[in-house]
Amino acid sequence: MEYKDYYQTLGVTRDASQEAIKRAYRKLARKYHPDVSKEPNAEARFKEVNEANEVLGDAEKRAAYDALGNDWRAGQDFRPPPGAGAQEFRFSPEDAAEFSDFFSSLFGREFHRRPGEPRRRRGQDQTVRIAIDLEEAYSGITRQLRLDLPEVGVDGRPSSHARTLNVRIPSGVTHGRQIRLSGQGAPGVHGGAAGDLYLEVELNPHPHFTPDGKDIHLRLPVAPWEAALGATVQVPTLGGAVNLKIPPGSQGGRRMRLKGRGLPGDPAGDEIVILEIVAPPAETEEARRAYRHMAEVLHFNPRAGLGV
């Protein structure tokens, strides 16, 4: 296993005071807390920082860690010296499941043998992000998930447990929604109940549609005469193409609502269509003639509102 330099993790010197360690920990915890942080790998970093604080923040554990000596480097191959782990340390088994092998080799062997133990404990909740396509959110989908769940073995050592779950994602789920799978988190310790598994849904970007909660936005290109004269045009929706009546005299940017054509639910979302007038290319003599004719008969100054 690899040696962990907890001082390096917290960015403090080996002679730092307990107060300085606490300050460094708090600063990093704020920076990498998964609920707050946008840093890449925030969750992994947060765990490392927590583990380092679990050791250095506690005078007894820190002393045991320091007793390994100063010559170790982070990542160096580490074998616990004889007698390591013989001492008793206080921490909760569900924390231990999250900590590294290095940690448990030093501190993690004894807790289940303490008098008064074992105490029944509920397993940890897990949160997993899952990215699905908008069409899948519309129709619902069964997705296969491979999960590595930490667990604490009968010997008290953390290990990892690979599982495959077939999870039904119901139709109408929106970006950022969580799905709770009761009892599918980490197993309990000493007969405790299993934790829960939370799936956090992310919607993959779609080439045309932009979800906004249950509503779906679509920029709909229209020809100038369709907007000016009115027209009935085909509009894509998640449930298939529908006809939309564009009123005469419409301008670019006009918003139209297709009720209930967004993501399903109670109530279902709407599809919000934003008209975008597209000028036809003037690449042929005939097209240029048509534009010149318009210019002559329409006497149109689109910048009149700007006072020029």
């Binding site: 915890a29 807390h33 947060f46 495959t164 077939n166 789920v173 799905i179 799978l181 799936l199 906004d212």
Partner: protein, 112 residues
């Protein structure tokens, strides 16, 4: 390493879900007292007046779980937790607006 094949259906934490204080306590791994204080502080907003009538929506469940984690991990007091949650909600809302608006602007970037 063992492998277990399971087919399961979850519960979406949205407006359609309502849970009691006791259920919320279990889902948050927190004490009823703490959650009670969070309601009093205005951090959680259940339906119903008396604690035994409180019903929390799925969105409140997510908020409560987050509040419990932030409070524990960052050693925040209730007022600090409430502030952090409100700011996080606002931040997420704004990020979502930006995402939608940027898509609406589409390719109409400044062409120099």
């Amino acid at each position: 390493m063992s492998q277990v094949e399971t087919r399961i259906e979850g519960v979406v934490l949205d407006e359609g879900l309502t849970v009691t204080l006791a259920e919320l306590t279990r889902m948050c791994g927190s004490s009823g007292r703490t959650l009670h204080l969070m309601v009093t502080e205005g951090l959680l907003r259940p339906q119903g007046s008396a604690p035994q009538e409180w019903r929390f929506s799925g969105l409140e469940v997510r908020r409560a779980r987050r509040a419990v984690r932030l409070r524990r991990d960052l050693e925040l007091n209730l007022a600090g937790t409430a502030l952090a949650l409100d700011l996080l909600d606002e931040l997420e809302g704004l990020r979502e607006r930006i995402r939608v608006l940027e898509r609406q602007l589409g390719d109409r970037r400044l062409a120099e």
